[in-house]
């Protein structure tokens, strides 16, 4: 009896092969096994036989939406910024997408980073991805040479190590609190939609910090980012970070210094998170990509919570619904504005 992920892998290969053979897509974006256990690498299948290399398991932590716009552009004839768009239909690309990835694709469509017509999305309802760091913690950082995945457990093996770990215990924080595991846009589905999950305390991590005093919050923030080496892996893994020149690379004006000076690291993390406000789908790529184990996802989660509280919308739920910070209402809350609070006092 194949496990759920094995049957998804089979169906994914079949669908990708069909798309490539029939010429519907020029390439298919998915995952293949990496060179070490628990690390998968994004993979572009360009020939039907490549489809056999596609894999699906619980370690596909990076967001494939991140690779989609550059991949699509690679199939366009080269042109300069002011040249007109090429005539005629352009080649399409197929891609596998879970809930959060598909929401990021919606954001990219809304932000004109890609066209919906040019992607064939194979939807997969997500069962949550495994946090490699949690597995390593569970075995006290012993060497792991192989991991075999069952539906609800992981069998971890290494020199002098054989341990069965409950899968849900090592699922990433963002997947544990995910409410929308189903893809919002797709052309074909693998498996069934599971519907929204009912999570009561999805913002628990954020609320714990909100309840601290200002001083303790600053303490938390600085200690969280203390180990940051400014490798920008979080930025590079993020499907929202596509600016040709990132603010960290600007030199005139230089918004943030390039050293590991604590102030500059703090400003980098504040601005990186803030630039994702109203756009972040909490896919957790940033955290999964971080080599130092910084939980910078809590920052974007806070922004997500505020945007939901203030404007009642979440990013990427539908192509028709504009992104919360690129639209407005006449009667948006404005108690934070000084002159408005004066008015309140006078009443």
């Amino acid at each position: 009896m194949p496990t759920k992920n094995e049957s998804i892998t089979q169906e994914l290969r079949q669908k990708a092969r069909h798309l490539l053979e029939s010429g519907q897509v020029a390439a298919f974006l998915g995952y293949t096994s990496g060179s070490v256990p628990m690390v998968m690498k994004p993979f572009v299948a360009r020939k039907p036989e490549d489809a056999e290399r596609l894999e699906w398991n619980s370690f596909c932590v990076l967001n494939l939406a991140n690779y989609l716009p550059p991949l699509l552009r690679s199939f366009e004839p080269p042109r300069r910024p002011n040249d007109p768009p090429p005539e005629g239909p352009l080649p399409k690309v197929g891609v596998a997408a879970t809930g959060c990835w598909s929401r990021n694709m919606v954001v990219q469509v809304q932000e004109n980073q890609m066209e919906r017509e040019r992607v064939v999305i194979i939807g997969i309802s997500s069962r949550g991805m495994v946090d490699r760091k949690k597995v390593l913690n569970a075995v006290n950082h012993a060497e792991i040479t192989s991991v075999k995945e069952e539906d609800n457990s992981l069998l971890v093996k290494g020199p002098g190590l054989e341990e069965e770990i409950n899968r849900w215990d090592v699922i990433r924080d963002n997947c544990q609190t995910c409410v929308h595991p189903d893809p919002v846009i797709f052309d074909e589905m693998i498996g069934q939609l599971q519907g929204d999950r009912d999570i009561q305390d999805r913002f628990r991590q954020v609320e714990e910090i909100e309840n601290l005093s200002a001083q303790d919050r600053w303490q938390w923030f600085t200690s969280e980012i203390d180990s940051c080496i400014r490798c920008y892996a979080c930025r590079n893994a993020c499907p929202l970070c596509y600016c040709p020149t990132c603010f960290v690379d600007d030199s005139r004006p230089q918004w943030v210094g390039k050293s590991r000076e604590p102030v500059d690291t703090a400003i980098f993390h504040i601005l990186r998170a803030y630039h994702c406000a109203g756009r972040c789908t909490d896919c957790g790529s940033c955290e999964s990509a971080c080599p130092m184990g910084i939980r910078m996802r809590i920052l974007t989660k806070k922004l997500q919570k505020d945007v939901l509280d203030l404007y009642g919308t979440e990013a990427g739920m539908s192509i028709q619904q504009p992104l919360p910070l690129s639209t407005y209402k006449m009667d948006d809350p404005q108690d934070f504005v000084l002159t408005e609070s004066f008015k309140g006092e006078k009443k």
């Binding site: 600085t222 910070l325 006449m330 934070f336 000084l338």
Partner: protein
């Protein structure tokens, strides 16, 4: 700012004020022309619209040693560019909460709406912001020592 200055009793805060060209800057001008008294702690930066002010600028002001920041634009509905301040309002609401979340004291970063005819209100806001920042003392969290 060196420690000596921080300990001085007669410390005056430095506050960067981003004022929109069409309303708040004119409001500040009117406050001056009408001879309303307000604290000399504001350093005014004239911007085309409150929508022009990005989080980058606010944080850059703090990083460069400002003790407080004030961003002021036209009243909602009065924007010279029709909707600039509506967008700004959403962004600032989120930014203010976010900065407080990571431990910046409430009162460091302030927002207000001041029209070109509200000279008196500008003076009031300047007093209020200055007294808030004075209560908090010199900024420590995001100041870079160059």
């Amino acid at each position: 700012m060196n420690d000596k200055a921080k300990n001085q009793k007669d410390w005056e805060p430095k506050i960067i004020a981003f004022l929109c060209n069409w309303c708040s800057y004119a409001g500040a001008d009117l406050a001056g022309v009408s001879r309303y008294q307000y604290p000399p702690s504001l350093r005014i930066v004239r911007v085309p619209c409150s929508g022009r002010v990005s989080a980058n600028m606010i944080l850059d002001a703090l990083r460069s040693g400002a003790d407080g920041v004030l961003v002021s634009g036209c009243h909602p509905g009065d924007c010279h560019y029709i909707s600039g301040n509506y967008y700004a309002r959403r962004r600032f609401a989120v930014l203010k909460n976010f900065l407080e979340f990571i431990g910046i004291e409430p009162g460091r970063v302030n927002f207000s709406w001041i029209s070109a005819s509200e000279g008196e209100q500008f003076a009031e806001v300047a007093k209020e912001v200055t007294s808030r920042v004075k209560k908090l003392g010199p900024a420590r969290h995001l100041v870079k020592e160059f």
